[in-house]
Amino acid sequence: MVMEGLSLSHLRELESESIYVIREVAAQFERPCLLFSGGKDSIVLTHLAKKGFWPAKIPFPLLHIDTGHNFIETIEYRDNLVKELGVQLLVGSVQQSIDQGRVVEETGYNASRNVLQTVTLLDTIETCKFDAAMGGARRDEEKARAKERFFSHRDEFGQWDPKNQRPELWNIFNGKKKMGEHFRVFPISNWTEMDVWQYILLENIPMPSLYFTHQREVFNRDGVWLAAAPFMKLRPGEKVEVRTVRCRTIGDISCTGLTLSTADSLEDIIAETAATRVTERGSRFDDKRSEAAMEDRKKEGYF
């Protein structure tokens, strides 16, 4: 039986699926949190949470794992958003993990705090007794992510066992766990980069200025444009210059590759996304380490 007009566009169907998953988290867990990085995926995730509980406030805190190497714009955006939503913000500090000797700062030209974040994240999850942490990871981002469940079980060491995942059928999610274990939940698993931008346009979500074209001091390393910053050591031969760039993904400064671009509206960004021939992750420094870099980090407990 076909009924007129009873269909949803792909964006509305994805939205509805994600809101369903977020509400399942609020219902099945005692202390969930939402991992907020300041990037577009976690911004969309937060927007979906806002919609899913309206007119009530989002019933869980945002958790930001702060490497201390953030773009100023990210922190400003984060603080404004938290104020507007009236939610609690918790910050896990990598600098503090370093100071406490939990991790050792990498040295050398490619030093990054990206890997160190895992320890800070797991420590924060443990101290705050979070039993579920929602993240904005998407399956289309990276091949190890393609096999992630919506509800991804972590043992008491925070580790992921990709070979022993629970089957996930229909929209029945099994969030049962033992003491000390937790779940990572990925409500926007089924979204692609294009879906995210189209949705941002559809919903008119304000975005950090970093995503739009601007002038910035940058330098080129192995074909990737990186932002100049006091803690970014230059190799011999590398020089800082001003370029017209924008971010395609936003992470910590040390691993965020910038794209040369003049896109200054969401429409421009969508056109650029449609035409681009490299993956988002291709412009991230953290994934270049080896073929299985992401998978290895994920097993340890990375985002």
Binding site: R23, D140, P167, W170, T276
Partner: protein, 413 residues
């Protein structure tokens, strides 16, 4: 633009990974850096052409063994539709993955190697696709290039398949002769098989009618979460949040709330900062009701007509996923829509031999990958429909009380 979910099934080496790689590649969904990585890996493995199958190989364990061992999800879009592929492996021992991938699919693509014809695995995959209620089946007869694109070879397989299919009452089955490797009839029409005129695989995926894949007849709304702001202007707001599982709900509709069978009227259907006049699957919304009644997660709001079954004795087809065998009268947690109850399997009515479709009557236990018709008893009632009528209110999973693992999936009869 609509969303279409499909799953792929075939035996090892039938060309599933190549086909998916081809669909992605020809839809320009492969990025240069991904292609570069695949080229590098192909050369390393001594392959003389770019092995598109490597595009879909996910985890290291699989790369090392050279096989696909878990469900992986892929995405691509054409100007007409967005597609989600649940890529599932073909090994016998991984039936559970196929069941998982099939659970949300609109379409199943079943691959047959033209040189091998219809084999036991083909029966198994088709049976599972049908059991999981996938509305549309496309049989891709692959490697046509290896039989000189022979029409007879294709027709023979089609006939064999149809003979088997009549025993299953499939609604919508289509056949396409393809070469995943060379690209014939995947995205581009084949110049070698002009005798075939029903469209390429991508063409069919873009145009297949999926609007009636949801149930729009019996209104079902499992309550997922109760929204209570308790502050300011919304102080007395009490919204029942959930996702529509069936039928169409309209503002002003008379509804029944299960399990207490209380009646009320829908005062509003809310989404963010607005009210809408009607809601249908698969929308996530919140309802407010005219009457102040006590409703919590696990309850179900349904239409006045055609209410669901309410019961504690359920017959279901069960697919067992765990290495640990099922014992009769063992206790499980049963999850069904947003409801959770305790349950026992009281009886194995018959097991299915998925290769011959025979019913075997002597079973007392189930081992991994067994499919059986069972009788379940629950400690509290659940509100359900036959799976054939509604894939959401007709499905359930069993969870181990001790290990918390998902042990089995069930389709209610």
């Amino acid at each position: 633009m609509e969303l279409l979910r499909f799953t792929t099934a075939g035996s090892v080496d039938d060309g599933k990974s190549t086909l998916i790689g081809r669909l992605l590649f020809d839809s320009k969904s492969i990025f240069e850096d991904q292609l570069e990585a695949v080229k590098r890996a192909s050369i390393q493995k001594g392959s003389e052409y770019i092995n598109l199958a490597l595009l879909t190989d996910g985890l290291r364990a699989e790369r090392e063994q050279g096989i696909t061992i878990d469900v992986a999800y892929r995405y691509f879009a054409t100007p007409k539709r967005k597609f989600i592929i649940a890529d599932t492996p073909g090994h016998i021992q991984y039936t559970r993955n196929m069941v998982t991938g099939a659970s949300t699919a609109n379409v199943a693509i079943i691959l047959v190697d033209v040189r091998n014809g219809v084999i036991d695995q083909t029966y198994r995959h088709t049976y599972i696709a049908n059991l999981l209620g996938i509305p549309h089946i496309i049989v891709c007869i692959n490697k046509m290039d290896l039989v000189d694109f022979s029409r007879e070879a294709y027709e023979k397989i089609k006939e064999d398949f149809q003979e088997f299919a009549t025993r299953l009452q499939l609604n919508d089955v289509r056949f396409i002769p393809i070469s995943a490797l060379k690209g014939d009839n995947v995205v581009e029409p084949s110049v070698h098989m002009t005798w075939y005129e029903q469209g390429t695989l991508r063409n069919i995926l873009e145009n297949i009618d999926i609007t009636s894949d949801h149930n729009f007849i019996e209104p079902r709304f499992p309550v997922q979460y109760v929204v209570r702001p308790l502050t300011g202007e919304h102080h007395d707001y009490r919204g029942y949040a959930g996702r529509i599982a069936g039928g169409v709900f309209k503002k002003g509709d008379k509804v029944i709330v299960l399990p207490d069978r209380l009646t009320s009227t829908i005062r509003s259907i809310d989404t963010f900062q607005q009210q809408i006049s009607r809601a249908y699957p698969p929308m996530s919304v919140s309802f407010t009701l005219e009457d102040d009644i006590d409703i919590s997660r696990g309850d179900m709001i349904v239409g006045e007509k055609n209410p669901p079954e309410v019961g504690q004795e359920i017959r279901a087809m069960l697919c067992w996923f765990n290495p640990k065998p099922m014992q009769l009268n063992g206790k499980f947690i049963l999850k069904h829509t947003t409801r959770e109850v305790k349950a026992m399997v009281k009886e194995v009515i018959y097991k299915v031999n998925v290769n011959s479709l025979e019913e075997i009557k002597d079973g007392k236990t189930l081992v991994m990958n067994d499919i059986a018709c069972v009788r379940l008893k629950t400690t509290k009632p659940i509100f359900y429909d036959p799976y054939k009528q509604n894939r959401i209110t007709g499905s359930l999973i069993l969870v181990d009380e001790a290990t918390n693992e998902t042990l089995a999936a069930g389709m209610i009869l």
